[in-house]
């Protein structure tokens, strides 16, 4: 009886493991197989025509990158600053616990709520309208917890001896942080930033309600922009052009895979060092 349970259990476990890998392969495979054929040079360098029925996705690529590259440095600076504070300047206290709780909670808030929030605050109240600015600010807030979490972990992992040596040599606190701790925690922090970048690129719900869905190139910070994820959503749902939908999705996945692979490599390098 026990042998049977044992075999059953082991089989289930193996099935689960292999199953998950197969799942990923199936999903990514399906998108890439149908999408890569559509990825011609023309597709990637021209604008959509007839609302996406023809043409390419260059404005979307540009829009996605602009949005992510505006959002991530913002949350990066804020997040790393918060992480430094939590790791270096305080001991565990009520304040730090509250900050941590807030960060955890923020991490759990669904993207649609961020979309609503960004809509009320940036688009309406502050009057930015559907724009790169509104979208970037919203995404910055959304990715903040990720950066705080990874940055804090990295900073904490820097061995205390580094700091002690630095102080012993006469350096001040901030000097130590800037010259010793941060460079050492660098890869880990960068991982967090890359993860945030990946998240910004993939996000849809928060972006639709704040950055709009215009098909044109954004020329100012206040222009609406359509990201690849949003474009894919619209093309696929409305059956405008399945070919281009898959192409957009393939491009999106490739981009995200690249960003995440870099993050993973950095993380492995970071773990190896520590």
């Amino acid at each position: 009886m026990n042998r049977l349970k044992d075999r059953l259990g082991t089989t289930l476990v193996w099935l689960s493991g292999i199953g998950v890998m197969l799942l990923l392969a199936a999903i990514v495979g399906m998108v890439l197989v149908r999408g890569i054929p559509a990825l011609s040079v023309e597709f990637l360098t021209s604008a959509p025509e007839k609302m996406g029925r023809e043409g390419g996705i260059l404005p979307m690529i540009v829009g996605t990158m602009l949005l992510a590259l505006l959002a991530v440095p913002l949350s990066g600076i804020l997040g790393v600053g918060a992480a430094i504070y939590l790791a270096e300047y305080t001991v565990e206290s009520r304040l730090t616990r509250i900050v941590r709780l807030a960060t955890e909670s923020l991490a759990g808030v669904p993207s649609i709520i961020f979309g609503l929030f960004g809509f009320v605050l940036f688009v309406m109240t502050l009057g930015f309208g559907w724009s790169l600015l509104s979208g970037a600010l919203t995404l910055a807030f959304m990715t903040l917890p990720t950066i705080i979490r990874t940055a804090e972990e990295s900073i904490r992992s820097v061995p205390g001896i580094y700091r002690e040596v630095s102080y012993a040599l006469g350096a001040g606190k901030w000097q130590t942080i800037r010259r010793v701790v941060l460079p050492s925690a660098g890869p880990g922090i960068l991982t967090g930033i890359m993860l945030a970048l990946g998240r910004s690129v993939a996000e849809t719900a928060a972006v639709i309600f704040t950055a709009g869905s215009s098909l044109k190139y954004p020329r100012t910070l206040f222009d609406p922009v359509r990201t690849m994820a949003v474009h894919f959503y619209i093309l696929a749902r409305e059956g405008i052009s399945m070919e281009r939908a898959y192409g957009t999705a393939a491009m999106l996945i490739i981009l995200i895979l690249i960003v995440n692979s870099v993050a993973l490599l950095l993380m492995q390098r970071f773990r190896a060092k520590v």
Binding site: D6, G9, T10, L12, V13, W14, S16, G17, G19, V20, M21, L23, L24, A25, I27, V28, M30, V31, I77, L78, G81, A82, Y85, L86, Y89, I98, V99, A102, T103, E104, S105, G108, V109, P110, I112, I113, G115, L116, F117, V120, L144, P145, G172, K173, G198, V201, A202, T204, A205, A229, F232, Y233, A236, R237, L252, I253, L257, V259, N260, L264
Partner: protein, 280 residues
Amino acid sequence: MHERRIERLLTCAALSSIAILALIILFIFKEGIGAVRHTGVLNFLVGSRWSPSREVFGIFPMIVGSLWVTVGALLLGAPLGILCAVFLSEFAPPKIANLARVSVQMLAAIPSVVYGFIGLVVVVPLIREYLGGPGFSVMASSIVLATMILPTVISISLDAIEALPSSYKEGAIALGATKWQAVAMVILPSARSGILAAVILGMGRALGETMAVIMVAGNALSVPTGALAPVRTLTSGIALEMGYATGLHRQALFGMGIVLLLLILGLNLIASSVGRGVRR
């Protein structure tokens, strides 16, 4: 002094988390409370008719919808996720384990709209052909969501399992247990609070998902009568009508946002107190 200024700046940065969370709660509440008061809190939550054109706002079917879909996702995703975590930590040879870990991380990176789309072109027709109903259903949503919460459940369960002292497993094996017995009788029970936290966080993720659900749920306004019935969740209800809504209608959508936010924040609090022993 220079140092003081830096410290003050960093303090502000740290407080930003709290500030943002507070802002979100504030704004969502402010925008939504009007409609909730207009209808009456109880009617809003328990009313089963949602008819914005007649200014009737009852979100009960959507609360039920969200819960059904989430429970379904957990039933499918939690066991699979936990077993996969066990696979990664105990059963997989190193090379395969690495591949599997990378797979999990990649799964987490796929945009939700892609999941939704694959659900739309693969899962929905399959359900419609072989199981009946319109295909857009609780089941379709649960399947898609289960896939989406896998990375969360797997990685946090994995952390919980790996945080256990190796003496637990070694002790069990020394006593003559097989690998599976060690897992089932020692490891899983010991890691249960961390695993529970993983499941609760997965639940939060499932509750909060929007785009994928809109594409496969059918978005019908009635309380779903079965797994094959179409359903509308809180999240898709908001996203569906947000584009056009004005005035009281928009406020009601924000009211739904309040309910959603409270549900998820509550779940998160439970998860963090349950999983307190787990190193994240």
